[in-house]
């Protein structure tokens, strides 16, 4: 199996006044293609920091990250941005939807790829249909359930057709039914479309639906199941 994400000795520290705070401590990780991995741990254990480093929003203090076999160069902002532009889709904790835009418009809000000029609308509608949102395309976010809103953010991540999806607690604000629905969609994305997905969560039940669970504690990988 292809090692889609490989993390070796990743360390992230912050200088808080005179104290050095270690958020990630020598993390090693390997995620394979088509896998849905749950990143578990209590709040403040470093899940979000890890995802932010993997998506290029933040740079590590030490260690290496390999995405799709290539070592990530964190030396410049431009190179870090190219991670999110080309390889990684990031789904934030909050819905990040603009209430005044329709679901369709929210989905395509950040699209800039030229290839979407051809069959552009069909592709977007296919994605919305896949996520069960096709009949909501012209609706506005305030009229959607929280589960549907989260699925819109997933749709936005899929529109760019990137191979790796990093979801930061996508089920955090959802009820059980909606949360299960979202995880089920992510799982089918991984298995049917070969997307590699890391989902940060602290919900054991949701994590059980994933292919693998990685537990983090105080910036370290504690256990993998």
């Amino acid at each position: 199996m292809n090692k889609e994400i490989l993390v070796e000795g990743l360390t992230k520290t912050y200088n808080v006044t005179t104290n050095i705070q270690t958020v990630l401590d020598n993390v090693d990780l390997c995620i394979y293609k088509g896998e849905l991995v749950a990143l578990m741990g209590a709040s403040g254990c470093g899940k979000t920091t890890l995802l932010k480093i993997l998506s290029g929003m933040s740079e590590p203090t030490k260690g290496d990250v390999y995405l799709r076999g290539e070592r990530v160069d964190y030396s410049s902002k431009k190179k870090r941005l190219s991670i999110r532009r080309e390889i990684v889709s990031y789904i934030p904790q909050t819905y990040s939807l603009i209430d005044e835009k329709t679901i369709f418009e929210n989905t395509i809000i950040s699209v800039r790829k030229k290839e979407y000029k051809e069959n552009y609308y069909e592709k977007v509608y296919d994605i919305l249909e896949y996520l069960g949102l096709d009949n909501k395309a012209e609706s506005f976010p305030p009229f959607l359930s929280s589960g549907e809103k989260q699925r819109v953010t997933i749709a936005r991540a899929l529109v760019d057709d990137k191979e790796i999806i990093l979801a930061d607690e996508p089920t955090g604000s959802l009820d059980e039914k909606n949360a299960q629905n979202v995880v089920w969609r992510l799982k089918s994305l991984a298995h049917e479309y070969g997307k590699t997905i890391i989902m940060a969560t602290h919900d054991e039940e949701m994590a059980n639906m994933c292919d693998r669970k990685i537990y983090m504690s105080y910036g370290k990988i504690k256990e993998e199941k």
């Binding site: 431009k78 532009r85 990040s96 603009i98 800039r112």
Partner: protein, 395 residues
């Protein structure tokens, strides 16, 4: 990124339904203002003086010498003489001024005459005004026959050359041309043509009117740019006994008694005077006087123009308001929306790009606004000045 910017601009305009509503209202208002402006009409009654004394008004004389009445009148051997006496009496009245003015086409022989100058251009029958006679193009063009009193009264001025004077030679009929003729003729040109009083004739171009010269004639403003202004003078012998000349004499003298009267008297009083003159001259049925009230018409025209300009101001203001509303305000929303920043940032847009998108989506409409509104503001200022001047004139 350009596509994204365009998408955002279109979105922000489309999504602001209240602003779109305002725009619709404004456009509706603008179209109503336009319609009202184009149809400002004042009742004719407004121009009728009711009292015995009124401000100086203009009255029009229309003879009733048509059909059997005409035949009966001209069966008298001294008919022309009677008309001549009537003309003299009209000119020598103490209680009113009499202006000889008559709108009737004349013929100019030239291949250079434009269709707009032809008498029937407005009715679309220009082919009736143009014919080739003896291999030469004859054109029946708009012509205003006037005496110098009428020229003075209507303040007609030449931009080049001058009007004729009473001592003009009798070989050529001096004419002053509207400004549209400038490209065709020059001062001093001798132009072949026909006049209704003299038949074949040679005109001499004495001058050109100022651009936009006009006069009130039979209740409407007549723009003289395409007109020939000719003196109501008969070059040939006025006492000719030949039948053809006699007919031309009739026309000439009828023109001379169908002018306008400037008086401070009421319609009834002027009508009485005209009837007295007609009775004295033995012209029956008596001529009829119809009130035109040029002076009042001028005021009404000024008021119309003033109202029109006021409406123009409303139109321009509405458009400025609409454009500012629709183009600027929606973009403030984009600039203030943090979610928008976050989404773009999460999807690999750099801070520079995000800022550029927001700045451009804001600045494009702003630039458009400045360009359009700047032009409109300039128009607004001009309109304001014109309106103020007109208001002062009216007052």
């Amino acid at each position: 990124m350009l596509g994204l910017i365009i998408r955002e601009v279109v979105f922000s305009i489309r999504k602001n339904k209240i602003l779109l509503f305002i725009l619709m209202i404004q456009l509706l208002a603008v179209s109503i203002f336009f319609r009202v402006r184009d149809n400002i009409s004042f009742s004719d009654d407004l121009s009728l003086p009711n009292g015995e004394e009124c401000e100086e008004a203009t009255y029009r004389i229309i003879d009733e010498l048509v059909g059997p009445a005409e035949s009966e009148f001209f069966s008298h051997s001294d008919a022309i003489m009677r008309l001549r006496v009537m003309n003299n009496m009209l000119k020598n009245q103490d209680n009113f001024s009499y202006l000889e003015i008559y709108d009737n086409p004349c013929v100019i022989i030239s291949p250079l005459i434009k269709d707009e100058m032809l008498d029937l251009y407005e009715s679309g029958d220009t082919e009736m005004n143009q014919m080739i006679y003896n291999g030469r193009v004859t054109n029946e063009v708009k012509c205003l026959w006037v005496d110098l009193e009428a020229v003075d009264y209507y303040r007609l001025k030449c931009q080049k050359g001058s009007f004729w004077d009473d001592g003009n030679n009798k070989s050529f009929l001096p004419i002053v041309l509207g400004s549209d003729y400038k490209d065709i003729f020059s001062i001093g040109d001798i132009v072949d043509g026909y006049s209704p009083f003299d038949g074949e004739i040679k005109y001499i171009v004495n001058g050109f009117l100022e651009k936009g010269a006009f006069c009130m004639y039979h209740g409407s403003v007549k723009n003289l740019d395409r007109y020939v202004v000719a003196p109501l003078i008969k070059l040939s012998n006025e006492k000719s006994d030949e039948e053809n000349d006699a007919f031309q004499d009739r026309i000439y003298h009828l023109f001379k008694v169908n002018g306008v009267i400037i008086s401070k008297d009421s319609l009834q009083r002027v009508d009485e005077v005209i009837k007295e003159i007609c009775d004295e001259c033995g012209i029956t049925p008596a001529s009829t006087v119809i009130l035109e009230s040029d002076t009042q018409n001028k005021v009404i025209e000024q008021k119309k123009e003033y109202m029109g300009n006021l409406l123009n101001l409303l139109i321009v203001s509405s458009l400025i308001f609409s454009i500012v509303s629709v183009l600027i305000f929606p973009h403030i929303y984009i600039g203030r929306n943090r979610q928008y920043f976050n989404i773009l940032w999460d999807n690999g847009f750099s801070l520079l790009e995000v800022n550029a998108i927001v700045c451009i989506t804001l600045s494009i409409p702003l630039i458009l606004c400045v360009m359009i509104c700047g032009k409109m503001l300039w128009l607004l200022i001009i309109l304001l000045i014109v309106t103020c001047v007109e208001l002062r004139v009216i007052n």
